[in-house]
């Protein structure tokens, strides 16, 4: 059964359309991430699901019931805000019981529920404090606690971790994942952080400028991005985009980098549907799919000579800022394989992982 369905949704503020033709559904118990750069309409979409904003046209269904005109309280949802939105004059306990109080739930039951959730999130000792007396991480927990005290059909999260420092963010990320596994509720999770989306979600909806670019599993999104935007947005450091031409030889299709020395980078046979010789393409390679030839263990038939401008060790991997024929190439390599700045080296490319994009439509070309 699908738990959330969004059909042909549009939203405009006056003349400005901020969401265009959104179609999305989430199965029961699924964890959906809405990801995209700031201002792309993620929060607006979440607010529409919550009923805090009206739709301009289209349908929102929760468990197959049309809720377009239902008030937020009638949609059976719970939401965690980026700012946490804890009521500043109430204690943690009052923050958690406020919703139950509004729904006229008996005091005894309120008490049991708070105890259960406080136990789950380990916030028992904080119950009588005011939000101003809590640390960022504690506020975050309380905000989740306030959502968990009800048993909603849908959990909505709007960038819940973006106000935490890096270490805490990673901790809370895994807690959210554990919590979701435990509670098993359908969740829509907004983030601008592609790592969060990749690690948490069963499916990711990538948005840009109010348009849903791709809605798929993390693996599909990463390996087979539908267009150049999705390819560039997911992954860090970001995918390299090189201007190139398709060439055909006895060995099959390949590409040559524009302005380069004409070396042919042979494409695997399953990448060559819809290609024509001489065609201009954008050649997309992720940084981790480069490897210095001297260290490469697999097939090294696709090689590229690059000039190393800068070497950035991060510990686990070393990032190389290089150029080939005036185009920038970022590669990430094993620290032990790293060359020196100013060296010219040969990089082997894992051609089975590359993507080709049409320069004008920016859609991915090969299958």
């Amino acid at each position: 059964m699908s738990s959330l369905t969004i059909k042909d949704l549009r939203k405009s503020y006056g003349e400005v359309e901020v969401l265009t033709d959104i179609n999305l559904e989430a199965d029961s118990g699924e964890f959906i991430a809405l990801v995209g750069p700031s201002g792309c309409g993620k929060s607006t979409l979440l607010s529409i699901i919550a009923g805090l904003e009206s739709v301009t046209s289209g349908e929102v269904k929760i468990e197959d019931r049309l809720v377009n005109n239902d008030a937020p309280k009638d949609r059976d949802i719970a939401m965690v805000f980026q700012s946490y939105a804890l009521y500043p004059t109430m204690t943690v306990r009052e923050n958690m019981t406020f919703g139950m109080e509004c729904r006229n739930i008996p005091k005894a039951e309120q008490k049991d529920t708070v105890a259960r959730v406080a136990d789950l999130l380990q916030i028992g000792p904080l119950l009588d404090r005011k939000p101003s007396q809590l640390s960022g991480g504690q506020r975050q927990r309380v905000a989740m606690g306030r959502a968990l005290v009800r048993d909603p059909k849908l959990f909505l999260f709007d960038e819940p971790l973006s106000n935490l420092d890096a270490k805490l963010r990673i901790e809370m990320r895994s807690e959210i994942k554990k919590l979701h596994n435990r509670v098993g509720k359908t969740t829509v999770y907004v983030t601008h952080d592609q790592v969060e989306a990749m690690t948490l979600a069963s499916r990711i909806a990538v948005m840009f400028k109010g348009v849903l670019q791709q809605y798929d599993t993390p693996k599909e999104i990463y390996e087979r991005p539908r267009n150049k935007f999705v390819a560039g947005f997911m992954g860090s450091p970001t995918m390299n985009f090189l201007n190139a031409k398709v060439v055909q030889s006895d060995a099959g299709f390949g590409v040559t980098i524009d302005g380069g020395d004409g070396t042919i980078l042979p494409l695997p046979a399953d990448h060559t549907a819809n290609l024509a010789a001489g065609q201009s393409v954008i050649f997309g390679v992720r940084p981790e799919h480069f490897n210095p030839v001297h260290a490469h263990r697999g097939d090294t038939s696709a090689r590229m000579k690059v000039l190393v401008d800068m070497v950035e060790p991060t510990g686990a991997e070393t990032i190389l800022m290089t150029t080939v024929a005036g185009q920038d190439v970022v590669a990430s390599v094993e620290p032990d394989d790293a060359p020196k700045e100013g060296e010219t080296i040969e990089l082997a490319i894992n051609m089975s992982k590359v993507c080709l994009f049409d320069p004008s439509t920016e859609l991915r070309l090969s299958a």
Binding site: S47, A71, P72, K73, F81, A85, F98, G99
Partner: protein, 302 residues
């Protein structure tokens, strides 16, 4: 007095040569003392005159120290309870009561309406909300004299001419412009997410007002109460124009009996009455002035 400092004091005269420090401090303190004297002098003169018999004032003029032998506090008593104004010998006490009966309800009503207006205008979107806010705050900039005729007409129609209730009504409505402006500008700093969270929690318009907005409001309530109380208490044009005789607030009554022109002027009693009339706003300001400045400069949620 009101403590307005919200940060550690910065002292620009703390460094430099000894000579420079002494001269510059001398100049600062000298100038401030002169101005302080100018401000305090009228109050001091009035205060001293309340203690002096009339003959003494007539003989030596207003600006003189009281004579130790004739100095007395009885003019305060007379001003309060037995001085004859317009044929009634009850002093200013009954006008004092009028002023309280006018100021307290008008302050409470205009503050409550301002809180509600501010909440609606800052937290709920509706058609023409900006226009309505503009029109309400237009009242802040409207000269009082312009409203005299319309008010006279309205009070006449409502049968509230020459009543304290009429003045309460006028001051409440006039005050809404200010209280709405203050409260709305204060409430915009309350994050909208709080309202959204409360709506998801199932709270409606009134519950959000009662449980979320009002508990955050004390600083701005103090501001509007001080502002409204002092403004309405000290106001005298409406009181003079719309009421007469025993229904006047104290400000108008003092003007009426001191400016009546007939008979002998009782400067000492008038002086005592004037100081009495000035006490409530002064008291309110001393009690709440600290919060007044804080409320104006501080957002709702830190």
């Amino acid at each position: 007095m009101a403590d307005t400092s919200t940060h550690e004091q910065f002292d620009p005269l703390a460094t430099g040569g000894m000579r420079r420090r002494i001269t510059s401090k001398g100049i600062v303190y000298g100038a401030l003392s002169v101005f302080a004297l100018i401000y305090i002098a009228p109050l001091l003169i009035i205060l001293l005159n309340t203690l002096r018999p009339l003959e003494d004032i007539v003989r030596t003029g207003f600006i003189a120290l009281p004579d130790a032998e004739t100095m007395t506090l009885r003019y305060w008593g007379e001003a309060w309870g037995s001085f004859c104004i317009g044929g009634t010998c009850e002093g200013v006490s009954r006008f004092y009561k009028n002023s309280l009966l006018m100021t307290i309800p008008a302050t409470i009503l205009s503050t409550m309406i301002g809180l509600l207006n501010g909440y609606i205008l800052s937290k709920w979107r509706f058609r023409y909300d900006g226009l309505i806010f503009g029109l309400i705050t237009l009242g802040v900039f409207m000269p009082q004299q312009m409203t005299l005729l319309p008010w006279a007409f309205v009070l006449g129609k409502l049968g509230l001419s020459n009543t304290i209730a009429g003045l309460v009504f006028v001051h409440t409505v006039q005050g809404i412009s200010f209280t709405t402006l203050f409260c709305r500008n204060y409430f915009v700093s309350i994050p909208d997410d709080l309202i959204k969270a409360a709506r998801i929690d199932g709270a409606g318009f009134w519950r959000i007002f009662r449980r979320i907005i009002l508990p955050l409001s004390p600083p701005i309530v103090i501001v509007t109460v001080i502002w409204q109380f002092t403004g309405i208490w000290n106001e005298f044009l409406f009181g003079t124009v719309f009421t007469s005789g025993g229904n006047q607030p104290i400000t108008s009554a003092i003007v009426a009996f001191s400016g009546s022109g007939t008979g002998e002027r009782h400067y000492n009693i008038e002086a005592a009455a004037v100081i009495m009339a000035a006490l409530p706003p002064l008291f309110i300001y001393i009690a709440g002035g600290k919060y007044f400045v804080r409320g104006l400069t501080q957002g709702a949620v830190k």
